[in-house]
Amino acid sequence: MELVNHILGTAWATLFDVIPIAIILVCFQAVAIRRVPPNPKRIAVGFLYVFIGLTLFLVGLEMALFPVGQTMARQLTDPQFVGGAAVLGQVKWTDYIWVYVFAAAIGFATTAAEPSLIAVALKAEQVSGGAINATGLRIAVAIGVAVGVSLGAFRIVSGTPLHWYIIAGYGVVMLQTLAASKFIIALAYDSGGVTTSTVTVPVVTALGLGLAATIPGRSAVLDGFGLIAFASLFPIMAVLAYANLVQWLEKRQIQRNFRDQNQQRETHP
């Protein structure tokens, strides 16, 4: 019974997410395009599926992941658990190794299940005719989030200013952009925005606020923010790095093939 209530409550909230979008779509369809799209029934069923899917997804997350994620974030940042200097009220960044590992692992795992990212990856695979593999892209993005959130946790522990990390990150992205193929750039930039939504934000925010609240000398409001920013910047680097790597390997392969052919020609004239 409680479960039914929970589902209905979430469905109600999700409905308010979907309705403004549906109104905008119907209005422009009716006023500007003035034509019924093909398969209107199928599209309506699709919207219904998205609505049902999101509702069940959110209820499931609230039951299975969010309490556990938040409890674990609290337990791992507890000075008693951290041990070492933390018990005496001092901060040594090396004491927080498990926090960094947890940050990376949970960043990777929540990103892999992020519905927005699945949507973009599916579209990219379809548009590129399979040249971009949806699973490969999602793994690259998830690695980026893992590194980002882990580094973000280190930033909170060490208390260094957020903007220097972000500005340095922008610099790296610019350099990578210069070296990357035009084919991947727009997709790489997009992957920064889609990584942090339904699954990742609540867990990562809990981790950030938990860290900032338990570490002496950190303010939850000034230092607790910023993990999301890391989680949106590093996937861009990861996807660009993946593209840079593939390009470099291909180039090397082509050069090697070329050399082999030349050698064959020399040995078998």
């Binding site: 979008i21 905008i24 799209p37 309506a44 899917g53 548009v127 997009d190 925005g193 923010f225």
Partner: protein, 247 residues
């Protein structure tokens, strides 16, 4: 009969895929619970029911994308391109960006948090009225900034401007603003870029971009079609910092 079988088969594949998506989370939680924290797992049955709901929900969501959101976004983009009216397209782009962001629960939460932070910093009064006014203004600012972002992104697709030039200009703008904005707002501004694009907006906006790029001659859906989300996560950072400076 074979249709039913096909549906069951497709459903099974969707469920298996969704279970695979969830697996990393299960492994991470189990590992930390057993190896690091070493305490019994609280509410195991509830967590298992929750995990099952997540899998079924993801499967429904992905099927809904394929038959609803993606085709609709693309046919609308094609219809706008055929109509050739820039005014309607720009209006649609703005409405989609603004309308989907303004009611976003994550944004409402971040705006309220930001008002508290700024009040603690002594920049605004701490009574509830001042806090609400600040949070409301911030929400509107972010929603307008996402609307502007989608408009700029759509115009870029039509004109064929390279995405990296606009993004790099955006980065430089953010870096410059960082040094003038009040320090209390910088962290929130950076985070606000990540929370604006909701799970329903992303597929629609992506389909809009790809549909537009594939129906305009000389545009490549891969290089020109993507990038709308990127703009939608950059402009809020700038607009929030400006809001912090002006307010």
């Amino acid at each position: 009969m074979s249709d039913t079988l096909k549906t069951i088969h497709a459903l099974g594949r969707l469920l298996a895929g969704a279970a695979g998506d969830l697996l990393p989370i299960v492994l991470v939680v189990a590992f930390f619970q057993v190896v690091v924290i070493r305490e019994p797992f609280p509410n195991l049955t509830e967590a298992l029911i929750g995990a099952a709901l997540v899998v079924v929900g993801l499967a429904f969501f992905i099927r809904g994308l394929d038959i609803g959101l993606f085709p609709l976004g693309e046919t609308m983009a094609q219809a706008f391109a055929k109509k050739g009216s820039l005014v309607w397209l720009v209006g649609f782009a703005f409405a989609l960006g603004f309308g989907t962001t303004v009611a976003e629960p994550a944004l409402i939460a971040v705006a309220a948090e930001a008002a508290r932070t700024v009040a603690e910093g002594g920049l605004i009064a701490t009574d509830p009225e001042a806090l609400n006014a600040y949070a409301y203004g911030l929400r509107m600012t972010v929603a307008v900034s996402v609307g502007v972002a989608i408009v700029v992104g759509v115009v870029r697709i039509i004109k064929g401007w390279p995405v990296q030039r606009l993004i790099i200009a955006g980065y430089l703008g953010i870096v410059a603003l960082t040094f003038f904005a009040p320090p209390e707002i910088v962290g929130i501004a950076y985070d606000s870029g990540g929370v604006t694009t909701s799970t329903i907006t992303v597929p629609l906006v992506t389909a809009l971009g790809v549909g537009l790029a594939s129906s305009i001659k000389g545009r490549n859906p891969m290089t020109d079609g993507f990038g709308l989300i990127a703009f939608a996560s950059l402009t809020p950072i700038m607009f929030v910092m400006v809001y912090g400076m002006v307010y």
